[in-house]
């Protein structure tokens, strides 16, 4: 951490007036950045005809009509799509936690032939562009008759293909003292028991980071859901939101904004709750 005596590079050195000016500039910049978001929130609360007459943030009239209209604008009530998204997301989170931690434990703690090669391959898959495999994957799932089910979305997670998280957990497990494993081993615990009772409980921070990122990425994911969910009865939130664009030739702004806000709500909630883990996850591995 920075000590007060440390002369640090400061971009605003000319403003010897000091921190006040800097804070004003930072807050100003933050406002410009968040303005579109704030405008969307405020527009979702304005009557349709006011959205363009007032670019300002404070609605002169507050109404929840947009929310009620948006909720029922599509084939199903919007809660239906939220539920579909929640199912896919929850299964993905559980699958990632289990599959990635199993693999990470083996890479971090066990010796086996060709370990370095497998580990290198695992790192390589992090870099692999997802689009290289979408065509054959789609063909595979359609031959298995799994289009319009959640399997194509969840199966890759069950099989630990999110190598990012394997890597994250390997890095984390390596920081844990081995003496704990060895002590458990002397007490007669097998590998499975050491994994469940010793390593996993200490891995909670890494597990939390994995869970939160998996939640956010899956909730936001559009391409896979667009590919595999073609039936409005299976739509998740992103695919459902997209149908607003088709349905309205840009006329239903208010309802569309209102539902977009609802779609972003859970992410915002997780962000507030799990900031510490998110920041740490990004800082240690460069996840996005």
């Amino acid at each position: 951490m920075a000590t007060p005596s440390r002369p640090v590079p400061v971009l605003f050195r000319p403003f010897k007036g000091g921190p006040v000016v800097k804070h004003i500039l930072l807050i100003g910049f933050g406002l410009v950045m968040l303005y579109p978001l704030l405008w969307m929130i405020s527009s979702s609360l304005k009557p349709e005809e006011l959205i363009f007459r007032e670019p300002g943030l404070w609605p002169s009239q507050v109404t929840f009509d947009n929310y009620t209209a948006g909720w029922t604008a599509l084939k199903h009530p919007f809660g239906y799509y939220l539920w579909n998204s929640a199912v896919v997301t929850a299964l993905s989170v559980v699958a990632n936690l289990v599959a990635c931690s199993l693999a990470a434990y083996a890479f971090a703690r066990l010796n086996f032939p060709l370990k370095k090669l497998w580990f290198a391959i695992m790192l390589g898959t992090i870099m692999l562009p997802h689009h290289v495999v979408i065509v054959p994957q789609y063909i595979m799932f359609s031959k298995l008759d799994l289009i319009n089910t959640i399997w194509p979305l969840v199966m890759p997670k069950v099989l630990a293909t999110d190598a990012f998280f394997v890597f994250l957990m390997v890095q984390f497990i390596r920081t844990l003292p081995r003496e704990l494993d060895e002590a458990a081993e002397i007490d007669g615990a097998g590998y499975w028991r050491i994994f469940i009772r010793v390593v996993m409980p200490l891995c909670l921070p890494a597990l939390a980071t994995t869970a939160i990122f998996t939640f956010i990425w899956t909730w936001n994911d559009f391409l896979s859901q667009l590919l595999y969910l073609n039936n409005p009865d299976n739509f998740t939130v992103p695919v459902a939101l997209r149908t607003f664009l088709d349905a309205s030739s840009d006329s239903q702004w208010g309802p569309m904004f209102a539902m977009s806000i609802i779609a972003l709500g859970p992410i915002f909630g997780f962000f507030l709750a799990g900031q510490k883990y998110l920041i740490r996850g990004v800082a240690t591995t460069g996840l996005k």
Partner: protein, 321 residues
């Protein structure tokens, strides 16, 4: 940063395969290996079925004409030849994506580094600012934000509403081939929070004694930045650069939503992956899409390779830790 990727396996007490290593020791090694493969079982299956298998299938398909409905027909290099000689939309998509990557990534990293420098000190409210700047990174890839962008930069959207207050008649932004890509670049720059956090973590690693020594020698702020901060940060700049190039070359959602799945106006937002999607899943030209996927793999591998080769000349791995 790069050394976090270094694999530090603990040396086994004795090589497992050593002959005459004594019965119990090698037995133990075998048991350990068996356990390891069990723990790795889901990952191995995934590697085979979800990753390696499809990559090989993708290569085979790229030499065929295939549409899901009828048998694949071998056409040799036709798909690849057509791509580079006849397909104007393919060339357009390459151009659009290249412009997008070349412009948006450096801009994004410049913002990320600039803000990290401003925030990196005992600044009051540091975590508050960090969160505000990071939030767009989390939301940026979502459909909801892309919809918002489409509306903010619509002909009668927020930006033009603000401009009209000053009596300026703005262009149609997303509806205008000259400016549509610019709005997507801006959206990418808007998500500078994630690389910013990586920079902040990197700045923490620089020992403050360096700055103190430099200050004693009479180095000013700029000189300190140029001679200490920048060289020591180069590995992290490099890391961010590689990641962001790979990521932005595969951007899809933003372009899809802003152009409503068409890549318009006049193919000005036809990202590579969007065109791949249209080919594979709208025209069911799956052999062609597979060939495009392989070209993408080669491009990304080449870009990453070039990045690594060039890094020799500007990335400084000191012996500092």
């Amino acid at each position: 940063m790069a050394d976090t990727v270094a694999v530090k396996t603990r040396a086994p007490r004795k090589p497992a395969t050593q002959a005459g290593g004594g019965g119990p020791r090698s037995l133990r090694a075998r048991r350990e290996a068996r356990a390891a493969y069990l723990f790795l079982a889901p990952w191995f299956v995934g590697l085979l079925v979800i990753t390696v298998g499809p990559i090989i299938a993708s290569l085979y398909l790229s030499f065929t004409d295939y549409s899901l409905l009828k048998e694949a027909k071998w056409v040799g290099l036709d798909n690849y030849i057509k791509m580079f000689t006849e397909d104007e939309r393919f060339i357009a998509s390459l151009k659009v994506t290249t412009i997008y990557v070349v412009v948006s990534v450096p801009l994004q990293l410049a913002f990320a580094l600039g803000l990290a420098l401003v925030l990196d000190r005992g600044l009051r409210g540091l975590s508050f600012y960090r969160s505000i700047f990071y939030l767009p990174s989390l939301l940026g890839g979502s459909v909801a934000i892309a919809i918002l962008w489409r509306k903010v930069f619509g002909a009668d959207g927020l930006v033009n509403a603000v401009l009209s207050i000053f009596g300026i008649q703005g262009p149609g932004w997303v509806g205008d081939p000259d400016t549509a890509l610019g709005t997507l670049i801006l959206l990418h720059v808007w998500t500078f929070g994630a690389p910013m956090i990586i920079f902040l973590a990197g700045l923490r690693q620089i020992p403050s004694s360096y700055y103190e020594a430099a200050a004693v020698d009479g180095a000013g702020t700029l000189r300190q930045f140029r001679s200490i901060t920048l060289p020591l940060l180069t590995p992290i700049i490099f890391f961010n650069l590689v990641l962001e190039v790979i990521k932005s070359f595969q951007s899809f959602t933003q372009a899809f939503i802003v152009s409503n799945g068409k890549g318009g106006p006049a193919d000005s937002t036809l990202f590579y992956t969007l065109y791949l999607y249209l080919k594979g899943f709208k025209s069911y030209d799956m052999g062609y899409a597979a060939a495009m996927a392989w070209v993408l793999l080669v491009i990304i591998a080449a870009l990453t390779g070039v990045n690594f080769l060039a890094s020799k000349y500007w990335v400084f791995y000191g012996d500092t830790k």
